[in-house]
């Protein structure tokens, strides 16, 4: 089996995988990072969104081997297990931006990509348009949109569009 190595949440990791192994399988099954979800497996729902070298991508539509040498950030990489939540996570909690939580890791990783591209001052229209690739079956999106606007603002106060603690 081919070997693959990459940096995940700031840690060097490696493993032997079949060529057909998807990045999301590698993360969940090899690394046991189960925060990244599979909602559709057909590239539509965005539950699997992670960052590859700082840019959001659907990890169900990437091969692990395509990420050889890349820096991957998953939802687990945003905040230390025993520390405070990342401002975007905190905003989802505060604004009730989740119900079942299945879509939430992908929503948050996508939200950070919106901040990267569009900055900290986000209007509702921009957020809704930019969430095109993320589906939520519970919330009706309303509070997700509010949470992202608030989280983006909060990140701005920290003076950064920075995503992960890494």
């Amino acid at each position: 089996m081919p070997a693959v190595s990459m940096t995940v949440n700031g840690k060097a990791v490696s493993g032997d995988v079949e060529a057909r192994t998807l990045l999301v399988q590698f993360l969940r099954e090899n690394l046991r990072l189960t925060g990244t979800h599979v909602g559709c497996d057909t590239s539509q729902c965005g539950a699997c969104v992670i960052h590859v070298d700082g840019i959001a991508a659907k990890s169900c539509t990437l091969l692990a081997l395509q990420c050889e040498g890349a820096k991957i950030t998953t939802i687990e990489g945003l905040a230390a297990a025993d520390g405070p939540l990342h401002p975007m996570q905190e905003a989802f909690r505060e604004h009730h931006g989740l119900q079942c939580g299945y879509c939430t890791p992908g929503m948050i990783m996508s939200a950070l990509d919106i901040v990267r591209r569009r900055g900290n001052d986000l209007d509702e229209h921009t957020i809704r348009e930019q969430l095109d690739g993320n589906i939520c079956r519970c919330t009706g999106y309303h509070n997700i949109v509010k949470a992202i606007a608030a989280g983006a603002k909060e990140m701005g106060k920290g003076g950064t569009t920075q995503q992960a603690a890494e």
């Binding site: 965005g46 991508a57 539509t61 996508s110 095109d132």
Partner: protein, 266 residues
């Protein structure tokens, strides 16, 4: 998805060598058409040749009166290219309308054109601007490149390296987005470059992207939405599925062509 061997060349020449040596090999660009198709087992290549590390085939450059886009340039990077937004914003708007942000972060122009999905956006821009598709073997005019649904003039082992678009002073793209997939139910790209007038349609034709000579002829007198007011195209030859009938698609071609002309002449 069936298993395969995986290769990561760093030059176009190496990639071509790998294709030649591995029967039943396929190129992998952004993977955002190929991987879903492999998951459905509609494709099961024995080998994948990943273009991700190949040098010299990424970027948007202004070369004289043409814009040259490397095959591995991602949709987001074309959409946000400062030089392209300045010289031909209509072309930048095409990848800007593809799918969703995550798809635009991975999908590439080379992959989109090689795939020639009948509802894809880039084929309309290529045909609507008279682009030239440059491969490791030759240069192919867009008029000769798109040969039907999911089929192109590319030969076995041929690799798209770059696409060159002549800069048109007037150009516009209008798309009726499928609300679920983001693909073009119908999309129309119009352009005028000197006497060369083009109207190219994606999404509608049963054989993929096509030009509309009757509209182009009418626009010769005056390049304005008024010139094609009331003109229609026949429903025969249009695609029909659960999303839209052939008649509706034919109707949209006229509507979207006029809207694209409004943009192009604004």
């Amino acid at each position: 998805m069936y298993n395969f061997t995986f290769h990561r060349p760093t030059t176009v020449r190496q990639a071509a060598g790998l294709l030649a040596r591995n029967p039943d090999a396929k190129l992998l660009a952004g993977g955002h058409s190929l991987i879903p198709v492999m998951k459905q087992r509609l494709a099961s290549p024995a080998a994948l040749v990943d273009l991700g590390l190949v040098e010299g085939i990424v970027g948007v450059e202004l070369k004289g009166r043409s814009v040259s886009i490397g095959a591995m340039t991602r949709h987001a990077d074309v959409a946000n290219s400062p030089v392209l937004k300045e010289v031909m914003p209509a072309l930048a708007s095409v990848p800007g309308s593809i799918g969703d942000p995550q798809v635009r972060n991975r999908g590439t122009i080379g992959g989109s054109i090689a795939n020639n999905d009948p509802n894809a956006d880039y084929p309309a821009a290529c045909l609507g601007l008279g682009a030239t598709i440059i491969t490791n073997k030759r240069r192919i005019a867009a008029d000769d490149f798109f040969t039907g649904m999911f089929s192109t003039a590319l030969e076995e082992g041929e690799i798209i390296v770059r696409v060159s678009f002549p800069v048109a002073k007037k150009a516009g793209y209008e798309k009726f987005k499928h609300p679920a997939s983001g693909f073009a139910l119908v999309g129309v790209f119009v352009s005028k470059r000197g006497p060369d007038i083009r109207v190219a349609v994606t999404g509608a034709g049963a054989n993929g992207v096509f030009r509309v000579p009757s509209f182009e002829e009418a626009l010769k007198k005056r390049f304005s939405p008024k010139s094609i007011e009331g003109l229609t195209i026949p429903a025969s030859g249009m695609n029909a599925d659960i999303h839209a009938s052939a008649e509706y698609r034919a109707h949209l071609v006229g509507v979207l062509a006029r809207r694209a002309l409004v943009k192009a002449t604004a």
